[in-house]
């Protein structure tokens, strides 16, 4: 497969969306494929960057969308939605079954924890031909993806399907094996594992630290969601109070509703815009009936016969920003008030279970594994760590990103190469419009056309027609991508690639500068000798300059005048 544009080579100049994604997913690439309705190929392209298109399509906080430069015109491209749609279509129409990657290396690698970080490292190393074994404590692989996120947000079959893809590549997953109990670092070394990657995530909930915390009915969020995902039925009673503002708090609240709770209240000590949870998830929860009280923090939990009855809280006001940059809540005296509750679910954070880890790996306050930020190598050579166990609770995509970086380090470690060289350059964002004020903004907000598919049964043809309509909307949305990157690297190959560049015939150009006037991308300008010159990095290939040049001195590499005229002749069936 060859790629046309010369831009591909300088990798470090990335479009804003790709630069914002921790896993550097080639958004522009799969957008280009979607534009041409190539759904299958676009999923394949995503998989080149990371293994969980469907999962991220559902739960990712999508930093790429916030960075999308289309926001300067109307609103960003719906990247996350399109990724999910592509992955779902591919899954429903029969996922591509990759054949196992031949083992070209013999150094065995052990990965602790089958969460997003672990699986991502396994995925990358498997692709490189390493024999990888993943040890997972829980009965099923997936970590937080399976046990941390409720089903309504992330269906289990989706997680299973994506993990199966990794297994198809040849990754061996051993479940029910607990690190620190069944296996330890030394046992692994003895079994011949040359490198170990610890990614067992955060198992413990953070304590509220208020009296009455250990009353019955106080059900930490992590365990609550894990039990639910394990299929246990949990009785939460009528009134539930959830403490905390993160995703797990919202998940716990919504799950409580689904378990019959009538009144679910989320108590959060800061205000709305400090909530770490995804805004659209918070809105969905409120719509489902969850009440959220801001600037409230529990003072104590009052129980009756060992069972929680009331929870007394204090009003807060926001003071100076704390280490995380968020403003520290300060209690206001004498504002105690109580809520009647049957269950209290604290969701104020999670902590890794560090007791099973050698102390040398831990940071000074022994609350997470300390690693070299760039190489993810721990104090012990050959042992790496990543994901929530290092960064404490973070998003799936950040874990995947960490996994990718760890895989690179492990690969270099096993080949004895220096871990750091060439990895420090920072990324330079490319965008082709220099000043956005000049661009006419669209007056009304763009709203995607709503397709009501409802739940009713549909015949097979209707479904197919419905799917075509969905695909049409998807392609239109994909077409809104402004292609900020130099080359879409869509790996679509020569015949697919439509990248076109203007070319100036210097003998004809008299330097009248009309081309520079009509080109909004400032891609063609007069050079010092007074002749028009095309900057191939910026030229989008629209061809306006070619049609406007008074001396007809500018042609296009691909869409030449003669090509267009031959197309015209062809369509007309050249008149005799």
């Amino acid at each position: 497969m060859t790629v046309v544009s010369s831009a591909f080579k300088n990798k470090r100049r990335l479009p804003p969306c790709r630069a914002a994604c921790p896993a550097e997913v080639n958004v522009q690439g799969y957008m280009a494929l979607l534009q041409q309705g190539k759904f299958k190929e676009s999923v394949e392209l995503i998989r080149k960057s990371m293994p969980f298109p469907a999962i991220c399509g559902r739960v990712c906080f999508s930093p790429c969308q916030d960075a999308c430069s289309r926001k300067n015109i109307d609103q960003p491209v719906g990247i996350r939605y399109l990724k999910r749609l592509a992955a779902d279509i591919e899954r429903e129409q029969g996922r591509i079954k990759p054949d196992a990657v031949p083992k070209t290396h013999n150094e065995k690698v052990a990965i602790i924890g089958a969460g997003p970080a672990g699986l991502s490292t396994a995925y990358e190393l498997a692709k490189l031909g390493y024999p990888v074994t993943v040890f997972e404590r829980m009965p099923e692989p997936g970590g937080m993806m399976r046990y941390g996120i409720p089903d309504y947000r992330l269906q289990k079959y989706v997680v299973a399907n994506e993990i199966a893809y990794i297994q198809d590549l040849g990754v061996e997953i051993k479940t029910g094996v607990e690190f620190g109990k069944d296996i330890e670092i030394d046992t692994l070394r003895n079994e011949g594992y040359k490198a170990i990657f610890i990614a067992n995530g955060t198992q413990l909930s953070t304590k509220l630290g208020v009296p009455g915390e250990d009353l019955e009915g106080v059900f930490p969020a992590v365990e609550f969601l894990r039990d639910v995902s394990l299929g246990k039925t949990v009785d939460v009673g009528e009134k539930v109070a959830v403490i905390g503002g993160g995703n797990s708090a919202i998940d716990a609240a919504c799950t409580s509703l689904r378990f019959g709770a009538k009144e679910v209240t989320v108590l959060y000590r800061r205000s709305r815009n400090e909530m770490p949870a995804l805004p659209h998830e918070v809105e969905a929860a409120e719509k489902e009936g969850v009440k959220i009280c801001f600037l409230v923090a529990p003072k104590q939990i009052i129980g009756e016969e060992g069972r929680v009855k009331l929870i007394e809280c204090l009003r807060m006001k926001l003071g100076e920003p704390d280490a995380s940059g968020r403003r520290r809540p300060v209690p206001i005296q004498r504002t105690e008030h109580t809520y009647g509750v049957d269950t209290v679910i604290p969701a104020i954070g999670q902590m890794p279970e560090t007791s099973c880890l050698p102390s040398i790996l831990l940071d000074e306050r022994a609350r997470a594994i300390s690693v070299d930020q760039l190489t993810l190598e721990t104090k012990i050579p050959g042992i790496f760590a990543g994901g929530d166990v290092v960064t404490r609770p973070a998003s799936v995509i950040e874990a995947v990103g960490a996994g990718k970086r760890a895989a690179v380090s492990i690969d270099r470690y096993l080949n004895g190469a220096n871990l750091r060289t060439g990895r420090e350059e920072e990324i330079e964002e490319t965008t082709w419009v220099k000043d956005w004020e000049k661009i006419t903004r669209k007056s009304e907000r763009y709203t995607a056309p709503h397709i009501d598919i409802g739940r009713q049964k549909v015949s097979f043809e209707k479904a197919d027609e419905l799917l075509t309509k969905i695909k049409a909307v998807a392609t239109f949305e994909a077409r809104r991508c402004l292609e900020c990157g130099l080359c879409t690297e869509c790996l679509g190959g020569e015949e697919l690639c439509e990248a076109d560049k203007a070319v100036v015939d210097e003998t004809l150009c008299i330097g009248c500068n009309v081309c520079a006037i009509v080109c909004p991308f400032e891609a063609v300008k007069k050079n010092e000798t007074g002749v028009a010159q095309v900057n191939e990095d910026l030229c989008k290939g629209c061809g306006t300059c070619s049609a406007s040049c008074p001396e007809r001195a500018i042609g296009m590499q691909r869409f030449t005048d003669s090509l267009i005229l031959t197309n015209v002749a062809a369509t007309l069936g050249e008149p005799t």
């Binding site: 041409q36 309705g37 419009v433 661009i439 006419t440 903004r441 669209k442 056309p449 075509t468 695909k471 049409a472 909307v473 392609t475 239109f476 077409r479 402004l482 439509e498 076109d500 009248c512 009309v514 006037i517 009509v518 909004p520 991308f521 989008k540 290939g541 629209c542 061809g543 306006t544 070619s546 049609a547 406007s548 040049c549 008074p550 001396e551 007809r552 296009m556 869409f559 005048d561 267009i564 005229l565 197309n567 015209v568 002749a569 062809a570 369509t571 007309l572 050249e574 008149p575 005799t576």
Partner: protein
């Protein structure tokens, strides 16, 4: 048999509905009534190409671009709009009905709108009947008119004006004054008139030398005006005196090296 107009649709890639077959001959199942020629942006369409399409026998040319301000290349569609406005004025002088050329806006996602535009244009062209240029023996006069128009759109004068129009009107000229649209149109119309007649004259005297009176009779113009055009053409080195017959100087076109 019922007249089925041959219509060529120049469609911008970004406003082309998904189901339209983008490669191959452009005649697609859903729309047998129109022949699609896909371009990355309708800004790419050179006025000369539109006129060449009519010469090749199209009954109608439909240009569909992204609805402003929605253009993948920001203002390609706006530049095309001004080019087509100029083209229509030029075509109306050739004897070909300007209604055979139409510019319209559409969204890729709104396939129905796309379909209605095509149908509406199809009926409009059907009413006009086959193009005088189509078929075995195209109308001599209109063909000469279109060929002259083609030469004019290839020449730098009109292309400079239409290329600079948007900037002159929206951002202002070199004296930091905004040019009024009416004032610009006046200059444009005058330039179109002059250059078109000059181009007709030059083509007429290409094959055989003609006198001012002969040219005036052929073009139905006042001999005084024709003489003024001959003066300009001579000054530009495009036409020269061939010989004088009795009291009529005959002029012949010069090949411009």
């Amino acid at each position: 048999m019922m007249f089925r107009p041959k219509i060529v649709g120049f469609l911008c890639n970004w406003s082309l509905p998904q189901e339209v077959n983008t490669t191959g001959t452009g005649i697609i199942q859903g729309y047998p009534k129109i022949r699609i020629v896909r371009v990355m942006c309708i800004g790419r369409i050179d006025p000369v190409i539109v006129l060449e399409t009519f010469v090749k026998g199209a009954d109608g040319v439909l240009v569909i671009g992204c609805h402003p301000p929605d253009c993948h290349y920001i203002e390609g569609n706006l530049q095309a709009e001004r080019k087509i406005k100029m083209l229509k004025k030029l075509i109306s002088r050739t004897g070909l009905e300007p209604e055979r050329l139409r510019l319209d806006w559409a969204y890729a996602s709104e396939t129905e709108l796309f379909a209605t535009i095509i149908d509406d244009f199809r009926t409009q062209v059907a009413v006009l009947g086959p193009s005088p240029l189509a078929g075995k023996k195209p109308d001599e006069n209109v063909l000469a008119g279109i060929m002259a128009a083609k030469a004019v759109t290839g020449d730098s004068r009109l292309r400079t004006l239409v290329g600079r129009e948007k900037e002159l009107i929206e951002e202002g000229n070199v004296y930091n004054e905004k040019v009024e649209q009416e004032e610009f149109d006046e200059v444009m119309n005058e330039s179109i008139d002059e250059e078109y007649v000059r181009s007709r004259i030059r083509l007429l005297v290409k094959d055989r030398p003609m006198s001012v009176e002969g040219l005036a009779r052929h073009l139905g113009l006042d001999p005084k005006k024709v003489l003024r055009h001959i003066v300009v053409l001579r000054h530009r080195g495009l036409v020269a005196l061939d010989k004088i017959e009795r009291e009529d100087p005959l002029y012949i076109a010069l090949e411009v090296t």
